[in-house]
Symmetry: C2
Subunit: 368 residues, 2 copies
């Protein structure tokens, strides 16, 4: 399996919003398509909490990416026309500097000595990739999905003039208490796992239980009850799929589905990095950039056009939050298209209901 | 603090639906008001997973009950007219025989040797309290809240002719996959706690972490995002409320709120009993009583009149499930009143939005 990641060395020291700085840090990214000589066909995608920069297959890495059906020749992100960049968030362990990275000052992993991470830092790091790394002065479009949508708002706010148009996908202008409660409980499950050990786990003692609970709770809130009624109903596991001697072991298909998600996630994501990115999501609040008012914060973002997409079944980032983004960007002068989808898949619809998202995003990009 | 509980000795052996039997088991209950000589003014309330039989204060126990504002002279359950009984579910540790009880055969606590518990067993035990214990041949009204609503459906199905009217509160005719997923994760958090120890915990080593996560996840799903936006927004804890040296410690009021709920619950509810009742909820399915069809199962329930109440913000027992109950009971011949409330408090609205529930329930009972 190849590796298509490129690495951009961040300015050093790289100063963090909440204090502290990183030395010799880098950010991983991948690209698809060709940057035009005029540099005017670049699209940057900022991801949710867990995905890597590998949004789609490419020559160096033919494995499918997390948005495989959306990116490529003739697809919504048509790489015949667009130069698409996907950045791995600063603080994520998919190639970017993160709490699992070696601190050059100590020669040891940062772990909890990693400075406090905010989505503003994620945005600033991505901005360096685009401008300093790729020499792009202005993005044709900045796309942000889920947590990446919040990072995108920070990007546009902190770097005025670098974004022409914006696509906001299933995200929020601030973390609200339900989402905070869910993420706080995910973090607590990890923190309470004795193997987390204040961040000092290793391959022998890894907080698998905590990560498993965190991931399952994530998946529960990423999908929707409606989808599961159709998909799992009350279907039981076959006898051979059940753990015979496990008291209160799994019995229903939905339980096995969650277990599968947890197993695929566990040991593939650094628990400390998860904690940092999760907390950064809780901290994000456009009101902080608008004297306590979300709309005033959004009013400081200036793009020509925006497409804002949300899903009625999303319980983590409810549709009202995308409406707020749409209204805020519009009030700030952008021409905004707001698309409210009825996809049954909840927050994750952008990864599943490719038809609807392709139509909305492909349609928007075709008019640029 | 007094104790108003009475205890009814169940038939011995008490045979359980899924096999196994209990010897010398009992069920705790409390009563308010006076049973009429004709025995025709009795209302039985079946509770959710965690409440005790102490639904309201009375002479022996003046502490407020879990439905304090609903039960008493002049209240929705007007004890000047009605004789109100609240039964503690079989398997709950609030006085009824449960996994923490001593197994007379061994002289040791049952723990996981307690037979598999179903809500049909809970219903049968409650039926014995009413008929054998209190000599009531027919209930004027059977009320079930949350899990107790499922127990009530089982009660009416298994004991035809013993219920004249029914009030169904925030419940479901079967467990659906979202609710199963939540409860499965709650059970897993307890099972993964090393102190659970296969059910063999004691006061020294108690699965506090698992119970805390389970309770917080419960509270998150019992309330609604909408309520919390208004109640907590992004309000921070005061500096002195924060745990200074705790990495990733609580910062927002909503986190402290959940922690308070968890602390009040922990060590006050037996973890094994929680597991048994939680699984019983997952198992409940009226379709099993209707050749695989919920409506056909409901068609086997015959009451004269029913009031079915649900809340649009309930994510654990969504409103569609109460609609199904209403339609099913109506198809079976009952005169059904269906009340869909817009209370912002989610599943727990029946404990909080007393005005709306008083109006609906008090109004219904006044016409009997």
């Amino acid at each position: 399996m190849g590796d298509a990641r490129r690495y951009h060395a961040l300015s050093s020291p790289f100063r963090m919003k909440r204090g502290g700085e990183l030395h010799g840090a880098c950010v991983a990214y991948e690209t698809w398509g060709t940057l035009a000589a005029a540099g005017d066909n670049a699209i940057l995608i900022l991801t949710g909490l867990s995905p890597s920069a590998h949004a789609a297959s490419n020559d160096e890495d033919p494995t499918p990416g997390w948005w495989q059906e959306m990116i490529g020749p003739g697809k919504a992100f048509d790489t015949n026309r667009w130069f698409v960049v996907c950045v791995n968030s600063l603080g994520s362990d998919k190639g970017s500097t993160c709490p699992a990275s070696i601190d050059p000052a100590s020669g040891q992993p940062y772990r909890l000595t990693f400075p406090e991470l905010s989505l503003e830092d994620v945005a600033n790091a991505a901005h360096e990739v685009v401008v300093a790394g790729l020499g792009i002065e202005r993005l044709a479009c900045l796309v942000g999905c889920s947590m990446g949508g919040m990072s995108a708002l920070a990007f546009m706010l902190l770097h005025p003039g670098t974004v022409r148009t914006h696509i906001s996908v299933d995200t929020a202008p601030q973390a609200q208490p339900f989402a905070i409660a869910i993420r706080s409980l995910q973090r607590e499950a990890i923190r309470l796992d004795p193997h987390w050990n204040g961040g000092n786990y290793d391959d022998e003692a890894w907080p698998e239980h905590g990560m498993s609970i965190a991931r399952k709770l994530g998946v529960i809130t990423y999908r929707s009850a409606m989808e599961w009624n159709g998909r799992f109903a009350r279907i039981r596991l076959d006898a051979e799929q059940r753990e015979e001697n496990e008291p209160f072991g799994f019995e229903f298909q939905v339980e096995s589905y969650l277990e599968g998600h947890a197993r695929r996630f566990n040991r593939r994501f650094d628990p400390n990095s998860y904690l940092y990115l999760s907390r950064a999501s809780d901290w994000f609040d456009m009101a902080e950039h608008g004297e306590g008012d979300v709309m005033r914060g959004l009013a400081r973002i200036h793009v020509q056009r925006a497409l804002v997409i949300g899903v009625s079944t999303d319980i983590l980032f409810p549709l009202e939050q995308q409406e707020t983004i749409a209204r805020g960007l519009e009030a700030a002068g952008a021409a905004v298209e707001f698309v409210a989808l009825d996809s049954p898949q909840g927050h994750d619809a952008f990864l599943v209901d490719i038809a609807s998202y392709s139509q909305a995003i492909g349609g928007f990009l075709a008019t640029l």
